[in-house]
């Protein structure tokens, strides 16, 4: 595992996506080329309203120039401060942190399940797999949200050439209902030789976990937890394991195998 770096970086690019989503590109981050899908950075906000750093998954990297992209949804005080950053502003990044997704073998079919703000690490994963020669047609990208406005970067995903399947709860885009519904239908039919990669709200992860177990499809889930330190020293981010005991989401995870965590 690469050692995390703690560095001051600048915001070199920001894009305001719809519905309180933002894409931020920071540079130069010397560990950008070491970041693997599923890993995250801990971002320090200007001193003031919030005390802790905030965790964000790596959404993409441009290794030649040390660019690191985060895709962030504004949900509270910290993310609101972040959304106010302007180009050229400095911040401090600690990372890459956490265990990345274990990549599938090239012949395995990849079933990505993204829910809402769980999208960024899976975008990175899909990109990485394709860069490494995985056939995009063997990557199913299930993407769910409450409504049309929760589905971001659609054209970017399409450009990857993956098989994108959208579901919205209100039916304003793609299939109507929870994203786990089409996932289930697919896995029941074609579950052999599939690997699941999921990140999203707790309810979705729970459903995917159960699906994987019931249909015997292996896979990995990326979890979230409030993280005081992000490096494994405070024991604040723990989740219970099915085998008993606790695991730290920040460093034993955030990626866990299906069935590993008592969700």
């Amino acid at each position: 595992m690469t050692r995390p770096k703690c560095e001051t970086v600048r915001l070199i690019k920001r894009r305001d996506l719809k519905n309180d989503y933002f894409s931020f590109t920071f540079a130069p981050f010397s560990a950008a080329d070491k970041c693997r899908p599923g890993q995250f950075v801990h971002l320090k906000l200007p001193a003031g309203e919030v005390y802790f750093r905030r965790a964000f998954s790596v959404a993409s990297v441009e290794t030649s120039c040390g660019d690191l992209e985060l895709i962030v949804k504004v949900v509270g005080r910290g993310t609101r401060i972040l959304a106010a950053l302007r180009r050229g502003d400095a911040t401090n990044l600690l990372g890459p942190l956490g265990q990345p997704f274990k990549l599938p073998r090239r012949r395995e079919r990849v079933v990505i399940v993204a829910g809402g703000v769980g999208f960024p690490p899976l975008l990175f994963l899909a990109q990485k797999l394709i860069d490494r020669g995985h056939d995009p047609k063997h990557i199913l990208f299930f993407y769910g949200g409450r409504s049309r406005s929760d589905i971001i970067e659609r054209s970017r995903i399409k450009k990857l050439g993956v098989d994108l399947r959208i579901a919205t709860e209100d039916g304003t885009l793609g299939e109507q209902g929870l994203v786990t519904k089409p996932v289930k239908t697919f896995l029941q039919k074609y579950g052999d030789n599939c690997r699941i990669f999921a990140c999203g709200p707790e309810g979705m992860l729970k459903a995917v976990n159960e699906l994987g177990l019931a249909l015997h499809v292996p896979g990995q889930l990326s979890l979230e937890a409030p993280m005081p330190c992000g490096i494994g020293v405070c024991l604040g981010c723990v989740v219970p394991l099915t085998a008993g005991g606790h695991a730290r989401v920040c460093c034993d995870g955030p990626v866990f195998q299906i069935g590993e965590v008592a969700l």
């Binding site: 802790f52 005081p228 405070c234």
Partner: protein, 305 residues
Amino acid sequence: MTPDMKVMIAGVEFDNPVLTASGCCGYGEELAQLYPLSKLGGLVTKSITLEPRLGHPPPRTAETVSGMLNAIGLANVGIEAFIREKVPFLAKQQTRIIVNVAGATIDEYVEVSRRLNDVAVLDMIELNISCPNVDQGGIQFGSDPYLTEKVVAAVRAVFARPLIVKLSPNVTSIGDIASAAEAGGADAFTVMNSVIGTAVDIDTRRPRLTNNKGGLTGPAIKPIALAMVDAVHSRSRLPIIGVGGISDWRDAVEFFLCGATALQIGTALFVEPEAPLKIVHGLKDYLRKNKMKSITDLVGRLEKY
């Protein structure tokens, strides 16, 4: 000239006076990923109990204004696994190792300390009689002078190296507790553990911690910690390791002036893992600018009104 950063506590020399606090640096492995631990004056392990403990169920931390609440509940690997799995790593580190000891009963404190007596790499133990997050032990001992003296004396009898006692601010008179610990045979004090507090989620109308309350730490408690260091310093001549809300070298200078010989950095590590190194650097600059030769020249030099 580079100022002398060495300090002595109970006959143990520290290369610099900035240590990491118990519960905020695990058993050292994670911080060592970020920088060599030899840059620290020393490291205090997470509290060790006789048996492994899982701690309280999550959520067990909550962010607050200028700090945080925690009710981890002394989650730790237990003395056996500590010696088997953690000590070999610690033995390779070029820094002072202090093992923090906790227990539910005097017997537990004694048994853990007795086993640690055989562990050569550790320089001292720090007795945690001030944890606010467990039903038994912890602060129960640290808030009663009689029990304080009793537990300290019992550990003193089985542990041959220096013994630090970590005090709680949640007492009527921290001076009385310090005196009792000194009478029991303490060699130094760590001042202080976290301050009891809680926070409420107004939507669910439930506490933000499953333990219902926790310990407040971080910048929010610095003024309390300074007053506690001062109170113990005016009561006892034993060396004091100051801890509570220290984020930068300016905070550090305040603690030395109030009577601390060394410091521990806790919560600040979560935001700035390299905080101890920056503090050492800043302290050196401060000494240089003020034409002081040694960090010890600062200790207790508060000019009171």
